[in-house]
C-alpha cells in the first residue's frame, strides 16, 4: 500500500497501462439495431518510487439519448490517500477521492484507442 497525499499523487503523471472489453461486449453486432451497452476495464499506472495502480470498470452506453463513457465502479488500487496530518483517509472515502482523480483523466480516449488497436488486429466477426 502506497501512502501519500492527494497533492503528491497529482504531482506524478498517471498513464494508461491497458484496457479490455468484457467478453459479453465483444460482439456488439449481436444487438444490431438496438441500444446496447459495451463494458470493460482499464488499468492506469503512476510511476514513482513504487508503482501506483488504479483500475476501474467502465461502460459505454446511451444516457439521456447520448452515447457516454462512464466509470461504473470505484477504483481498485494500492493507493492510500493520507491527510495533511499523515492519517489515512477511511478506505471508502479514499476510493471516492481517487475516483475524482480518475474522473479528471482523459481516460475514454485512451481506452477507445486501445480497443481500436485490438479490433484492427482481430479477425473479422463471422456469424
Amino acid at each position: 500500500m502506497i501512502r501519500l497525499t492527494l497533492e503528491e499523487l497529482l504531482s506524478n503523471p498517471i498513464e494508461h497501462y491497458l484496457s479490455g472489453l468484457d467478453k459479453s461486449s465483444q460482439h456488439p453486432r449481436l444487438a444490431c439495431g438496438r441500444p446496447t451497452t459495451i463494458s470493460g476495464y482499464t488499468e492506469w499506472l503512476c510511476w514513482a518510487a513504487q508503482p501506483m495502480s488504479l483500475g476501474w470498470d467502465w461502460q459505454l452506453g446511451v444516457v439521456d439519448q447520448r452515447v457516454r463513457w462512464q466509470r461504473t465502479e470505484l477504483p481498485r488500487t494500492n493507493v492510500q490517500i493520507i491527510n495533511s496530518a499523515g492519517v489515512d483517509l477511511p478506505w471508502v472515502q479514499n476510493l471516492h477521492c481517487l475516483a475524482t482523480v480518475v474522473d479528471s483523466l482523459a481516460w475514454p480516449s485512451a481506452v477507445r484507442a486501445q480497443l481500436a488497436s485490438h479490433q484492427s488486429n482481430s479477425p473479422p466477426y463471422q456469424s
Partner: protein, 175 residues
C-alpha cells in the same frame, strides 16, 4: 484430503489448464502441509463442490515464492495477522446451472469466501492476501468485498494477476 485433491485437479488442471505437478488425478503442492488450513464446501451427497486453502505468512507461502513481483517492491508480509488464501474454487460439477468455472458469481462462491475470511479471523488474521486474476478482483468488488491491491497487475502466462489484501473485518458483514 483425497476428495479435495481430486476436486482441485478437476478445476485447476483439467478445466483451467494450470501446469501443476500432480500425483495422478490428485493435485497437491509444497504448500499442502501439516499447518495448512482448508475450507471445503460439500453438497448434500458429501461431494466436494468448493475449496479454499489458508496458509500463515510466517512460513513459506505461494505468493512469496511464486509471485513476489506482484507485491510492488515492498516487503512481503510475514505476520501472524496476515494469512494467504489460495486454491480457491467453488465450481459445482454436478450442477446443471451455470458455468463450472464461475468462481465468484455464485452464491456458493460468496459463502465460501465469507467462511474463509471468518475462519482466518479466528486464526488471528486481520488481513488475507491472495493472488487473483484481474477478473476475479473485479468480481470481488461486484460482490461487495472490500479488497486492496498490493501493486499493479502483471501479466503471468498471458493472464493478468494481482495480489489483493482482503481485511477480515468487512463492512458488508455488518449489514
Amino acid at each position: 484430503m483425497a476428495d479435495m485433491a481430486r476436486y482441485r485437479h478437476r478445476v485447476f488442471v483439467e478445466k483451467l489448464g494450470w501446469p501443476l505437478r500432480c500425483e495422478g488425478e490428485l493435485e497437491y503442492d509444497e504448500f499442502d502441509r501439516d499447518d495448512t488450513v482448508y475450507v471445503l464446501a460439500q453438497d448434500e451427497e458429501g461431494d466436494v463442490v468448493g475449496t479454499a486453502r489458508l496458509l500463515p505468512t510466517t512460513r513459506p507461502y505461494l505468493l512469496a515464492k511464486a509471485f513476489p513481483a506482484l507485491w510492488g517492491g515492498a516487503d512481503l508480509p510475514c505476520s501472524p495477522e496476515v494469512w494467504e488464501l489460495s486454491r480457491f474454487a467453488a465450481a459445482d460439477f454436478g450442477s446443471s446451472k451455470g458455468s463450472p468455472l464461475a468462481q465468484f458469481s455464485s452464491r456458493a462462491a460468496i459463502d465460501l469466501l465469507r467462511e474463509s475470511i471468518r475462519l482466518s479471523a479466528l486464526l488471528g488474521a486481520k488481513k488475507i492476501v491472495t493472488v487473483s486474476p484481474l477478473g476475479v478482483e473485479r468480481l470481488l468488488r461486484a460482490a461487495n468485498f472490500e479488497s486492496q491491491r498490493a501493486g499493479p497487475p502483471i501479466s503471468v502466462g498471458g493472464q493478468l494477476l494481482c495480489a489483493c489484501l482482503i481485511p477480515t473485518v468487512q463492512a458488508h458483514f455488518a449489514a
